[in-house]
Symmetry: C3
Subunit: 351 residues, 3 copies
């Protein structure tokens, strides 16, 4: 479950400047406060600098500036958080699946499974699917007809791909995610909803990560598209024909409605909702639980919602909000009347 | 994967007036802008009329009014979007499951599976369940004891029905949906939550669709009830004893709390939340991410929330909101004082 | 499917004072309005007292005060709702799984499964896992390496535990829940997200319930921790390194961001969102769809959001909200000007 790596090897792996004993054994990772004498820690956020002096860590990843005055063993790097990210994989207790096909898997005759793939128990792979080298399919995965999974992909147990989902290389998908579900397309006729077949597929780039129980619907006509390097957290809903630009990240519980297009390098915080058929430009940051009802054409941060209050105060604010239009009109009226009777009147600038 | 249908056959199938060559081969569907010379397109939204003249589509579904002046091949229909919905199923690449029971399926001796049903790999069907004619159960489905699934149902891979879930005809359920889970029922005694067994079931009408990873809990005492023609998108939460009227549609990420009753022909946009034990009348439309805290007795559209702003401006609005009750009182006081000193004073009408 | 129990036995089981015939057969539970002559009902909420007189129930659980003047058979108890909770399990139609291991299950050689556990079809149990006495694992469950499930646990069909998830006794997990998924940890370097291995696990106390399709991520370094008696409803997202105190309950669709710590005996209503790295003290109640952006240090109720309005009115309020900062400044200016010209002026108290 735990690896042991010498501090000198770690320094070499990370391209770090080692200050301390290269022979020291490192067996894991922990925060500055919790690290024991065989664990590596890191100092990325200045807020935690106060914990450095008392840390029991075997060694600490830090910047040159923070290394000054620190007497413990150190790995000096330009970006300690990035170095921690790289080091973390050396100590990951995640079991590595054996290469080969579990005897219980049900695989169509004309599916292509690379001999260097790992196919878990009770996996189903349907006609015409292609599974690349080094791909891991956890137990209970379902891979629909004509799906493609590029080299190095890792699907946790119980991931479902409907037919015609094409996935790039090194893509990680967590349990319960469903890719290619039939989007919500219905034509209303006299009050009755008539289903529209969703004939498009899903196209997912390289180095994408998709979280637990996240849903990415297939396109109604053309494909739903997820760019390279996109990171989707858990419980996200991506509707049909959404397009997400490269390296955009979304926190949990985000919902994107149909045909909306999101740019590159955007960040959506948790619980954000976007209506359909809008465009979000590159480099947009949307704060938590914001409702986005129109396109965004300028990079920057956007928000909606109200700040939390004690419930009794909130009830007053919420009630007053309904009177806000009336208040605005009364304020304007009052300004006019006061302007009529006071010196320098009627100079206010209503927005 | 793709069907080929002659334009004349399509016209007949749709009851459309054909303008053009009945022998033309149609192999698929696409938007006006993306359609190639063998694809059918449609013009439903007047906003897209501008793309009609340059469309490469083999033929276009459109209204008589839009057909005037259009020189390409056309299928003239009263409702092009509805006609597109009907035509879409002809070109659906979704694999059709073979009739019969996969040898890996585990089926209770006393379960009844119609010979014209299709049961996928690793399906489990428990005691007393009944699966109708033409039903498809995708791989990894679990059908609990005494469940009933009416004729023509289609369950995607990995749908879970707990015991005593009764489903009408032609019902579609997407992957990851869970029907009949144990609702959130606990009696608090001295700070400790005591579980209440959820002894009701779930009753689902005909022609219902349930989306990816949507949860419909079983009733605490009586059944949770989903009416005919109801369409539920992905990631929805329906709590115990909710009742949903016929032909109501809900977009993704909606949450309905326990014992709430929703009328017929309602539409709930994405992310809407309803508290428990309220009644929503027929023909109500609720806009995205609205929090519904009380019953609605009049048809119409309802909203809550605030509009998105750049985050810096939003922070000011959010801070001011907490002062709103104070502002309202000051405004009223000011009106009184101004009324005392100006002609025609104190005539404002506070709501 | 239904049990039959004599009213006298029920009284004894519940420690209730029986008023009526101990030989009466009780076959189920129902509300006062819906109960038939062989069903037990209860009166907990005074709002329903009006239904007592006409109830057809065989007997009613009620308080001594409500028993006065009621002529039907009664089981008099101090807390009728709690008594109903206890009685409900006697009439639960949920099938009881047979003890033993289904022949289709795939269990690692070095996993330990108690002989008094029940392991369903297509279950996978990986290396080093330990399943306690009386545990039920529904069909399609996946139990990762080194997981531990304490005695008396009940996992519905299709629950997935990643490796290193340790669960206490009598824990209930509903279908589709995923425990131990890899949290959303990435280090951004020049616009590219680099994955951080999530090397921690999940630690779940005794008597916890986890709802349908709920996700509890594993810790990034240390464990994510769910205390004793915690109840999580459906579709909840618990991010890495969250800590939840004993006996806290969360309704559906709540999202908790990483490293946030929640106290004991808290209640979060549906759709609440919490940002990361904050602390919520004990005994906090947060109303539905509230966005919690900072720590809470005082017990009590907290809210955010706006009240629902007809959409046309709401549009006006939402537009005015963007002018609120301007309005506040104008109001202050006006107060100053009015103060200059009226007696007793400039006494307003801006917050």
């Amino acid at each position: 479950m735990t690896a042991t790596i010498k501090l000198g090897e770690l320094a070499e792996f990370l391209g770090a400047t080692l200050r301390g004993s290269p022979e020291k054994d490192i067996t894991g990772l922990a925060t500055l406060q919790e690290a024991g004498p065989a664990q590596l820690s890191f100092l990325a956020n200045p807020q935690y600098r106060k914990y450095l002096v008392d840390s029991q860590a075997a060694a600490v990843l830090l910047k040159a500036a923070d290394a000054e005055g620190f007497t413990g063993d150190a790995l000096v790097v330009p970006d300690p958080y990035l170095a921690y990210a790289k080091a973390s994989h050396l100590f990951d207790p995640k079991p590595k699946a054996a290469v080969g096909i579990h005897p219980s898997a049900v695989i169509a005759d004309d599916a292509q499974v690379d001999p260097a793939a790992s196919i878990g128990a009770f996996v189903v792979i349907e006609s015409g699917a292609r599974i690349g080298a080094g791909v891991t399919l956890g137990a209970h995965c379902f891979i629909g007809a004509r799906c493609e999974i590029g080299a190095g992909g890792w699907l946790a147990p119980r991931v479902t791909l409907y037919h015609d989902v094409r996935i790039g290389e090194r893509v990680v998908i967590q349990s319960g995610a469903v890719i290619g579900g039939e989007g919500f397309g219905f034509a209303n006729s006299k009050g009755i909803w008539n289903k529209i077949a969703q004939v498009g597929g899903v196209l997912i780039g390289d180095d994408v990560e998709i979280g637990v129980n996240t849903a990415v619907d297939r396109g109604a006509l053309a494909d739903t598209v997820i760019g390279n390097g996109v990171k989707l957290d858990n419980q996200i809903q991506i509707a049909h024909n959404v397009q997400i630009g490269d390296h955009t990240a979304m926190a949990a519980c985000v919902g994107i409605s149909g045909s909306t297009k999101i740019g590159k390098h955007c960040m959506l915080a948790g619980g954000v909702g976007l209506v359909g058929h809008i465009d979000i430009c590159d480099n947009v940051f949307i704060t938590g639980m914001t409702m986005v009802t129109h396109s965004i054409t300028e990079p920057g941060a956007y928000s909606s919602g109200t700040a939390m209050q004690p419930a009794a105060e909130w009830r007053k604010s919420a009630a007053r909000l309904r009177q806000l239009d009336d208040m605005a009109r009364r304020l304007k009226q009052l300004e006019k009347r006061v302007g009529d009777v006071t010196p320098g009147g009627n100079a206010s600038s209503e927005g």
